[in-house]
């Protein structure tokens, strides 16, 4: 579903490599967890996958469509939830969902059904007619989630989606992620909550200092060390990467 080939992104005229020559393939039907320390390059990678940033080198395809050269078709396959919740404050929640439905060309029957379903799932039925600027952080997160799901994209890209969600909404999201993949779709998400990643991800990629230091199933990452948690694996790998640099 996602194919990242030799992608690099630098800032400050190349002196800071936010993402350093990473290659990654995310298959159809899997929940892929993307984890790493703060400043590792997770959000930069996600922004390149979604077309917000342009890589310096390499290519990224979504369902076979290049995000740079065939951007409209590539983006049509994505439902994206960023880590920040900067939305159109002057629209109501419902108007924002309608706007997204219009630009994704969602048929009326589908948008009605999905809007009602997800507003109920995330408990926003009573607030959907309020202006977004009156929403709490968590409510903005929910509206962003709903707008990413309403058009039923084959690929969900979620950047720290659990942040700000109440436990009920968090549980509902995890269930929905699983159900989405069971239907043959794909979820790519980044998180700092390693227990969640360990529990629900089919495969995990660990990025540190712009480099992809490990990719695989939780078993593959354990490398035979039974009972080791993802947290331990994470610390071991990131500290090893740090030590290697020193």
């Amino acid at each position: 579903m996602i194919n990242i080939k030799n992608v690099t992104k630098s800032y400050a005229k190349g002196s800071v490599k936010a993402v350093d020559d990473i290659s990654l393939e995310v298959k159809n039907g899997e929940i892929f967890g993307f984890i790493g320390p703060n400043g590792a390059g997770k959000t930069t990678t996600i922004k390149m996958i979604t077309g917000i940033l342009k890589p310096d080198t390499g290519s990224i395809t979504i369902g076979g469509k290049d995000i740079q050269t065939d951007s409209v078709e590539a983006k049509r396959q994505i439902g994206f939830v960023p880590d920040s919740h900067e939305l159109y404050d002057r629209l109501t929640g419902m108007e924002y969902i309608k706007f997204i439905s219009d630009v994704y060309g969602v048929p009326e029957a589908q948008r009605k059904a999905n809007t009602e379903k997800y507003l109920a799932m995330f408990g926003l039925e009573d607030s959907s007619e309020e202006l977004i600027k009156t929403y709490s952080h968590g409510m903005k997160q929910k509206i962003t989630l709903i707008s990413a799901l309403v058009h039923e994209p084959p690929l969900w890209i979620l950047d720290e989606p659990m942040t700000g969600l109440d436990p009920k909404a968090s549980f509902a999201l995890k269930e929905e992620m699983r159900s989405h993949c069971d239907r043959g779709n794909t979820v790519f998400f980044s998180t700092h909550v390693l227990e969640v990643a360990e529990r629900i991800c089919d495969r995990i990629g660990i990025i540190d200092d712009g480099k992809l230091i490990a990719v695989g199933t939780i078993e593959e990452l354990r490398k035979g060390e039974k009972g080791t948690t993802l947290e331990n694996i994470f610390f071991k790998l990131t500290e090893a990467a740090e030590g290697g640099e020193k």
């Binding site: 005229k13 979604t50 002057r90 219009d102 630009v103 009326e108 039925e125 007619e129």
Partner: protein, 558 residues
């Protein structure tokens, strides 16, 4: 006092990106050179404009000197400066003090509300000082040098420049605080704030018109001449639009004790207003500034309305832009007030007291409706284009997205389509303004329908170029990082650049028309050529906007 300076310093640093410039100077020289280059371009453009203005002021002064009324230049420029500050100050004050993003954060700090208010007010004040300096210094110097005024004149001039923005800004601040306090007690705050702000602006304009119209009703020429022959009579007469401007002028032109009293009056009024405003701000500022953070819980359980109707991506973007503009008091005030102002300016003669029976006004009106039909048509078209093109909606169409620009990057709508949606939006505001001008011209100035229709058609064609040019400017350097909506519009150089572009485009028409007239072309040919220029330039700029926009959208990183 320390807290005030700490706040002011930090806010100015944040607003002008001073630390960012300092860091770039060491670590990102390309970005630093770009910032420096832009700053120098802006400075040189301002110097150029001030130079042209100074030349015109010098010529005008020469005429007034011949008529033995040199004080006219002082009273007119001081009046104009104070009136413009009063009108634009309202927008600045509302945006910087009441709709800034950092209001919530500042409210959590252990700082008095009056100090927060004072620091924000000072930012607006400092901004106005620079504008006042550019506006008043040339005529003051021209007057002082030509008449051999002494050091005292220049000292008083400096004091007056420092204090000129005070009265209008403090009036705006007081009225804004009252307005926002009232707004905070209502439920539909944004709607009331939008309507209230526009109403206040219209009130200012009508207030000025009323003051300006208070000339002797019986038209007694002898009485009028007597009034104008005395220096103070002339100054008071011309300064009636904003009386403190008369005090400032009298202070400047009189070297003796007669100049001291008006200066004291002028400064004292400024200080009295300040003394009244700051403590009041301490009591009511936060209520107005933070009211937008309060949400009214609806008692009735409501289910989501059905999402009716499906819009194309172009129309979805078009409607989104309109909703954003009309629901933000600052955007509405800046972008939509022009529609009302254009209408009001056209119908003002109907309300201007003795202007209605003014023989010179009547002569002008009969001229407009008389034989110079084509000239009037072209002049009106120019006026409609000017009113329609001066609004900042198109030149901030990307900048206003701010930190939510990421949405435009991820939605599956081609950049070309998005630009078309934004173009339609910007054009629609210009077109509505042109229509409002046309309606006002028919009602207020009794211009014939045929002339108005012809002028409107030409204006609508020309607005294509102006809207496209404005969007191109914002595509070239969008400004996404702003703390308040006012910064997105008022402190966005794209708006100024777009106004200059509008003036240049109008200048091309004026130049072409003048040239053709000089070459004795018939008026029919002149109008036809103007239409052809409109269509050709519109097509070219629109096409360029799309091509350039597609490239720029791809590389702009939010």
């Amino acid at each position: 006092m320390n807290m005030f300076f700490t706040l002011l310093k930090t806010q100015l640093n944040n607003r002008f990106g001073l630390t960012a410039m300092r860091i770039n100077a060491h670590s990102d020289k390309k970005a630093f050179r770009k910032q420096l280059g832009m700053s120098l371009v802006i400075i040189f453009s301002m110097i150029y404009l001030v130079a042209i203005y100074s030349f015109l002021a010098y010529k005008f002064f020469g005429l007034t000197l011949q008529a033995n009324m040199p004080e006219i230049i002082l009273v007119l420029t001081i009046s104009a400066s104070m009136i413009v500050t009063l009108l634009t100050g309202l927008i600045f004050i509302l945006g910087s003090l009441f709709f800034a993003k950092d209001s919530e954060f500042l409210a959590t700090l252990p700082v008095k509300p009056s100090v927060v208010f004072a620091s924000k007010f000072s930012q607006v004040y400092l901004n106005e000082i620079f504008v006042t300096l550019a506006f008043l210094l040339p005529p003051f110097i021209i007057y002082g040098v030509s008449l051999g005024m002494g050091a005292l004149f220049y000292l008083k001039a400096l004091l007056i420049i420092l204090f000129v923005p005070a009265i209008p800004l403090l009036i705006s601040a007081l009225l804004s605080m009252v307005l926002m306090n009232l707004v905070s007690r209502t439920r539909r705050r944004d709607t009331i704030a939008v309507v209230g702000s526009i109403a206040l602006l219209i009130l200012y304009v009508f207030g000025q018109t009323y003051l300006m119209s208070q000339i002797p009703e019986n038209g007694n020429a002898q009485a009028l001449i007597g009034l104008l022959n005395s220096q103070s009579g002339l100054i008071n007469f011309l300064g009636r639009a904003f009386p403190p401007s008369a005090w400032a002028t009298l202070a400047l032109v009189n070297d003796n004790i007669n100049g001291l009293f008006p200066l004291v009056e002028f400064i004292c009024l400024s200080l009295i207003l300040l003394i009244v405003t700051i403590p009041l701000a301490g009591k009511i500022y936060y209520k107005g500034a933070l009211s937008h953070l309060e949400t009214a819980k609806k008692n009735k359980k409501r289910s989501a309305k059905e999402s009716k109707g499906q819009n194309s991506p172009v129309m979805a973007i078009f409607f989104r832009e309109w909703k954003t503009i009309t629901r933000s008091p600052i955007y509405a005030l800046n972008s939509l007030s022009g529609i009302f102002m254009a209408l009001i300016i056209m119908v003002l003669p109907m309300f201007g007291g003795s202007m209605k029976s003014d023989p010179q006004m009547n002569a002008l009106l009969s001229l407009i409706t008389g034989e110079y039909t084509v000239t009037v048509l072209l002049a009106f078209a120019g006026m409609m284009v000017l009113f329609g093109g001066l609004n900042p909606a198109a030149s901030t169409v990307l900048s206003r997205e701010g930190t939510s620009f990421w949405i435009s990057k991820v939605i599956p709508v081609s950049y070309r389509t998005q630009i078309i949606g934004k173009f339609l939006f910007g054009y629609s505001i210009g077109a509505i303004t042109a229509f409002a001008t046309a309606i006002g011209a028919i009602i207020g100035l009794k211009i014939s329908m045929s002339i108005t229709a012809g002028a409107l058609l030409l204006a609508l064609l020309t607005l294509v170029s102006i809207t496209a040019a404005s969007i191109i400017i914002d595509l070239a350097r969008p400004r996404f990082n702003w703390n308040s909506e006012t910064e997105a519009i008022k402190q966005n150089m794209n708006v100024l650049a777009s106004m200059l572009a509008s003036v240049i485009i109008i200048g091309i028409y004026v130049g072409a028309t003048w040239l053709m007239q000089t070459l004795a072309f018939s008026w029919t040919i002149i109008v036809l050529v103007d239409v052809v220029i409109s269509v050709a330039s519109g097509a070219f700029l629109y096409s360029f906007m799309l091509k350039y926009g597609e490239k720029r959208f791809g590389v702009i990183e939010p």
